[in-house]
């Protein structure tokens, strides 16, 4: 099996997960090449978030392989380990450290030793400071750096979270509905930002907003009832009768 996973960045095969009998993920298979950006769409309850949970180690699958870089078995690791492997995740509902300043949020996310004592005696280096400035710039939050995250707007929180994601310097980003609750302008901005990121890192975007997905202009996977329904360019999948049925319930 690993030979099939050869050269892939993320490799899911025959993954199943059930909650009290309800099959959230049903024999799901998905392959992501290095440097690829993938949009995942699907109606509510299609299992998008559960899939993210499985990849990031929050939920253990009942059966199936989840491999990172063809070899590392993610099902054996916990969130922290997986994160340190270089998989960053952005939640559906933006979660930032509300009682920290924007700056501190980024600082906490910066790639660095994660051990308790390392952080206890940690002093911010010049390099780190520079990196923080840079990230604040990318996420358009420079002027808010001293503000408590709690006081940011919803959109700004989304961006801050993406910023924190970047600060981890992950090889794979899992982004859950980044455009949710954003103005059209913000949405467009976000799309640009993501494409920017995709140049250096692999990204998986889960999204409802079709226009946003179109803006991304990448390969699309349609999930339905925990399994892959269709895969291909947005136009291809949206003309797929099965997909149409699922969405328009015909």
């Amino acid at each position: 099996m690993t030979d099939k996973a050869e050269g892939t960045l993320l490799y899911l095969d025959g993954v199943n997960k059930a909650f009290d009998g309800f099959k959230a993920i049903n024999n799901l298979s998905l392959v992501l090449a290095p440097g690829e950006m993938r949009a995942i769409i699907g109606p509510n309850g299609a299992g998008k978030t559960t899939m993210m949970d499985i990849i990031t180690g929050k939920t253990k699958p009942d059966t199936g392989d989840v491999l990172f870089e063809g070899s590392t078995d993610l099902t054996r690791l916990d969130e922290a380990k997986i994160a340190n492997l270089g998989i960053g995740r952005k939640f559906q509902k933006p979660t930032v450290f509300e009682s920290h300043t924007v700056e501190d949020n980024i600082v906490l996310a910066l790639k660095a030793k994660r051990g308790a004592f390392a952080t206890l005696f940690h002093q911010t280096t010049r390099a780190e400071a520079a990196r923080v400035d840079e990230l604040l710039a990318t996420t358009r939050l420079t002027d808010k750096r001293k503000m408590l995250a709690a006081r940011l707007s919803h959109g700004q929180k989304q961006w801050l979270e993406i910023g924190m994601l970047l600060a981890q310097e992950p090889r794979l980003l899992l982004v859950d509905e980044p455009a949710a609750g954003m103005t059209d302008a913000e949405t467009a901005e976000t799309a640009i930002l993501l494409r920017e990121i995709a140049k250096t890192q692999s990204v998986v975007v889960v999204e409802h907003d079709m226009t946003f997905v179109r803006d991304l202009g990448v390969k699309v996977t349609v999930l339905h009832e925990g399994t892959v329904l269709a895969e291909g360019s947005l136009d291809a999948v949206s003309s797929n009768p099965k997909v149409v049925e699922v969405y328009l319930g015909r």
Binding site: F19, D20, F22, A24, T49, T50, K58
Partner: protein, 542 residues
């Protein structure tokens, strides 16, 4: 012991008389003689009184048993002036005296003019035995049975003839059985030949009860075949009792479990369902208990006849009082704290301090007496399993309460709304449910149920301002162990902890048992971080 020999000879005289076919009825003797003997009851110490009882029994007069009965129950008095023994009857500030023998009216005297004839445990036993031998031939089978049982306890060899006579005449098989057993014990105490004793051992052994075992064990020490037989019989009984003991422990466990369930069930709502860390829960239980106390006080003073119904009357009242206070607390304090469970801990802690002190100020710090109605006192045997009525009723009651609560939460609109509000407050209110109203009444419901739990718990424990503190920790343990927000969890949790505790106690002792249980809970929570009946799925992950 001198007294006992008196008793023996006396009995013998009387019985020889009694058994003579001509005098089937007991002999009646002249009043003055009897009165003289009766007056002896008031003279000297306990030994003398015992002798006097013997003398009285010797007369075999019908009236003796009733007089002794009065003596045993402490209703016999002596007139200080002339040391005459009398019966008294309160008549206003004075006492109306009657002659125990003739029943003649002896006029009125002030209370100070007479003094009670003191009896102690030993005299009560002697009296019981004497009455027993006297009433073996009573017309009432119940009386005969108790008489036989009394004789059995007294282990008095001299009673054998009387027993023989009684057995011969006994129509009722059940009573006869008791008499035969009684005779057997008497034989063991007597100096009859070995053969009789062996037979006796067999009869006793066949009973198979713990009492039988008790009788045998006093002879297992003997040499020779009798001791041998006794030992054999005893061991066979013991082995038979082993299973019963196990069953007994489990029954204790269930009963303890039901107590825990009662204590915890209200909390399962205020804490489990509403998420209020309700430190005042114990005080709600306490208030229920005090309501019971007040109800009983009123009944005692105004309508003593209703005493047996006092608990039934107290139940709804306790629910209303505790529930009302619950609503009050919710409206005044807790409603400001939703979504801040830790604050509720602090506030309710304050509330509990205030409630405790309030009760202390109103009722005093001492324990208050809450009596058991007749249908809740005493115990009965199922085989060798002794079950006390109060415990049994509490088990039944706790299950009824549980079922009722389930019904309310699952079948009524109120229950539906409660679940709606606790699961998604904003959505619920959006759908037009008046959340504040629901909150108040849910908390009231939880408190009210704590209140009726108090009614039940008042039957087995203290009624004092500290009552609540005794239950609060256990209640939290039960709810958390069972799984917060799951009533079934609370039920199973309570029973598991109760039974586990009682199965451990005989080996580990009361304290160690409890400690082990706590350690067990800690370890268990490691395995199931959300309790026995945890809600699974993505919902709780967020």
């Amino acid at each position: 012991m001198r007294a006992l020999t008196v008793l023996v000879t006396a009995l013998w005289l009387m019985l020889s008389a009694a058994l003579a076919p001509t005098a089937a009825a007991a002999t009646a003797i002249a009043d003055p003689d009897l009165s003289r003997l009766v007056n002896q009851l008031a003279e000297g110490g306990f030994d003398e009184v015992e002798a006097a009882i013997g003398a009285l029994v010797a007369t075999g007069d019908d009236r003796v048993s009733s007089i002794l009965d009065k003596l045993g129950s402490g209703d016999l008095f002596v007139r200080k002036a002339d040391r005459v023994v009398v019966l008294t009857e309160a008549a206003g500030r004075e006492l109306k005296l009657t002659d125990p023998v003739t029943g003649a009216d002896l006029g009125m005297v002030p209370k100070a003019a007479v003094e009670k004839i003191r009896v102690n445990n030993r005299l009560r036993r002697t009296v019981a035995a004497a009455i027993g031998t006297l009433t073996l031939r009573s017309d009432d089978p119940a009386v005969r049975r108790s008489a036989a049982e009394a004789v059995m306890k007294s282990k008095d060899a001299s009673a054998i003839p009387a027993l023989d006579a009684a057995i011969a005449a006994e129509p009722d098989e059940g009573v006869k059985g008791v008499m035969i057993a009684a005779r057997a014990t008497a034989v063991m105490a007597s100096d009859l030949p070995e053969a009789d004793k062996l037979a006796a051992v067999e009869t006793i052994g066949d009973l198979g009860t713990r009492d039988a075992l008790a009788m045998l064990t006093s002879y297992t020490g003997l040499e020779g075949p009798v001791g041998e037989a006794a030992r054999k019989a005893a061991t066979s009984i013991e082995s038979g009792l082993l299973l019963w003991d196990a069953a007994q422990n489990i029954s204790y466990g269930i009963s303890l479990g039901s107590v825990l369930l009662l204590a915890a069930i209200g909390l399962a709502i205020t804490f489990g369902v509403m998420g209020v860390i309700n430190m005042a829960h114990g005080e709600m239980v306490m208030i229920g208990a005090y309501t019971t106390f007040v109800v009983q006080e009123i009944i005692r003073t105004s309508a003593p006849g209703l005493f047996d119904y006092s608990l039934l009357i107290a139940l709804p009242l306790a629910f209303l009082v505790s529930g009302g206070i619950g609503v009050l607390i919710e409206r005044s304090v807790i409603r400001w704290l939703y979504g801040r469970p830790l604050e509720t801990l602090l506030a309710t802690w304050g509330v509990s301090l205030i409630l405790q002190q309030a009760v202390r100020t109103i009722f005093g710090a001492q324990n208050r007496e809450v009596g058991n109605p007749s249908w809740m006192s005493g115990s009965f045997m199922v085989g060798e399993l002794s079950i006390t009525w109060s415990r049994l009723w509490i088990i039944v009651f706790s299950l009824v309460v549980f079922a009722g609560l389930m019904l309310v939460l699952k079948r009524t609109t109120f229950g539906l709304q409660t679940r709606a509000v606790t699961q998604n407050r904003s959505m619920a209110s959006a759908m037009g449910i008046r959340t504040p109203w629901v909150d108040a009444f849910t908390f009231g419901l939880g408190s009210g149920i704590a209140g009726i739990a108090g009614v039940a718990l008042s039957q087995i424990g203290n009624v004092s301002p500290n009552l609540g503190q005794g239950y609060i920790i256990d209640s939290f343990m039960v709810v958390v162990f069972g799984g917060v927000g799951n009533l079934w969890g609370t039920l199973v949790g309570a029973m598991t902890l109760g039974i586990a505790n009682k199965l451990m106690e005989p080996y580990a002792g009361a304290v160690l048992g409890k400690i082990l249980l706590l350690v067990f809970i800690i370890l268990f929570i490691q395995k199931r971080p959300r309790g026995l009946f945890a809600l699974k799925g993505r919902a709780i992950e967020a």
